[in-house]
């Protein structure tokens, strides 16, 4: 998917914030559980349909230290994985 494509979380899945900014995603339809580190949880919390992969990469660069140059590629791979597991979906531009 192009980096400009907006992303929205699947509202039928569960986002559990845990300690130290970690989180769990749970898909009750499949039983799948997916662990999120603080960066992943930060992105997932902002998947309200208004932001794209590029927006997430910019936000991560603003909020975290030592962000690698290839952050957009990493965020893109992360989002792709969530979409593949039914935790999020791309919105048509």
């Amino acid at each position: 998917m192009p980096s400009a494509c907006r992303v929205v979380a699947n509202p039928s899945t569960v986002f559990r914030e845990e300690l130290d900014d970690w989180a769990l995603l749970f898909n009750p339809d499949t039983g799948a559980v997916y662990g999120l580190n603080p960066v992943g949880a930060f992105i997932r919390k902002r998947m309200d349909g208004s932001r794209s992969v590029r927006d997430f990469a910019d936000l991560v660069a603003e909020h975290f230290e030592d962000v690698p140059d290839e952050v957009e590629l990493e965020v893109s791979a992360f989002v792709e994985e969530l979409v593949g597991m039914g935790f999020a979906e791309y919105l048509e531009s």
Binding site: V14, R16, L19, P28
Partner: protein, 376 residues
């Protein structure tokens, strides 16, 4: 010590105190979880809404027999509506074709656990009552036909311990189940009144370990156990091996009362709506649903906090553990069993004591070394 989850991941609920059977070893009846009345539908539904808001992921419905509740479909719909999955623990005798279809249709059922204690009516019904075998088997078949995952639990007791090979053949070959799990009739609930004729003797435990380990090898690991003879055999093998290898004392989490981590991720509720740490600790009341908030109880109740520190209590501090070579690798057993056997969940369970088992059975510790079978 494990970290406490922000809210419970899973809740075990006695959705009813009623049951159409009175199995002689039932852990529920005559325990402190055997309460006077069930809660009405709307209270459970309000609680399920709260579980949804707290991002609880799984609910296990037990009792009593959940299928005696005519409103069970409505309750399950409340669970599904709140983005949770569920399991049901059942004796199987009340599961109809329509109910199996309903469960399948929810697409959120982790499994229905059906109790099967024998390969024939006489063995199965020896503790569970006449007419129960055919109905339970029928339940498994209709659940399978509708694609609902079935988990069969075999409770090993004095009257079926010699039938285990037939039971394994019946369940795995006959019914084609992928696996089944085992535990044992333990000194809980009604079993306390019938212990002489139902609970496993030391000789029975040895036979059960031998048989289940052998069957599990023959069936490629398709027999599971979190408690009971098969689990004990595995745990004690590990303890004897590590002790023989000279494992250092304080090999965490061994050496402390660390056997149960349930209070870090799970909570339970009695049929009267009272929060308890576990269905096997029904006497430790922590508050009441819809009155006391789930997250407040989970994060602030002092007894729950105390139970979590149980993991730090060293076995070396208990008189009964004095001089035991296995302390560094022992975890003290189930707190629920410890509670009924000793009066406190903060002591090791005598039932889980390897040293005591070896003394009572006359077995040598090398019985549990790799390659050796548990033989009398």
């Amino acid at each position: 010590m494990p970290r406490v989850m922000r809210t419970p991941r899973a809740i075990e609920i006695d959705i009813t105190n009623r049951c159409n059977l009175r199995c002689e070893y039932c852990y529920h009846f005559s325990s402190e979880g055997d309460v006077a009345a069930d809660l009405p539908t709307d209270e459970w539904l309000a609680f399920f809404d709260e579980l949804g808001r707290s991002s609880v992921m799984e609910v296990t419905l037990g009792g009593g027999e959940p299928f005696v509740r005519a409103d069970l479909p409505e309750l399950i719909e409340g669970i599904v509506r709140n983005r949770m999955r569920y399991s049901v623990l059942s004796n199987g005798t009340l599961i109809t074709e329509d109910m199996a279809a309903f469960l399948a249709g929810t697409r959120r059922c982790n499994h229905v656990q059906v109790s099967i204690d024998g390969a024939t009516p006489d063995v199965h019904e020896s503790c569970r009552g006449a007419g129960t075998f055919r109905k339970a088997v029928h339940a498994i078949e209709v659940l399978q036909a509708h694609g609902v995952p079935v988990a069969v639990r075999v409770t090993v007791h004095h009257r079926n311990v010699r039938d285990l090979p037939n039971i394994a053949r019946f369940l795995l070959d006959g019914l084609g189940l992928p696996s089944f799990s085992t535990n044992a009739a333990s000194y809980l609930g009604l079993c306390r009144d019938h212990a002489d004729g139902v609970a496993l003797t030391v000789e029975d435990r040895v036979l059960a370990m031998t048989t289940l380990e052998s069957l599990n090898e023959r069936y490629g690991g398709r027999i599971q156990a979190a408690a009971g003879p098969l689990a004990e055999a595995r745990m004690w093998r590990e303890m004897v091996r590590k002790t023989a290898e000279g494992g250092a004392a304080g090999d965490c989490p061994g050496g402390c009362l660390s056997s149960c981590g349930g209070v870090f991720s799970k909570l339970a509720v009695r049929a009267d709506g009272v929060y308890v740490p576990c269905t096997l600790l029904p006497g430790i009341a922590l508050g009441r649903i819809t009155v006391d908030g789930l997250e407040d109880v989970w994060n602030n109740h002092p007894e729950l906090e105390r139970l979590r520190t149980r993991q730090t209590l060293p076995l070396a501090g208990f008189d009964e553990c004095g001089g035991c070579d296995y302390i560094p690798h022992c975890r003290g057993g189930c707190p629920g069993l410890s509670y009924t056997l000793t009066g406190s969940p903060y002591r090791p369970s005598p039932d889980a004591c390897l040293r005591r088992f070896l003394a009572e059975s006359g077995l040598g510790a090398d019985t549990f070394l790799p390659g050796n079978g548990v033989t009398p």
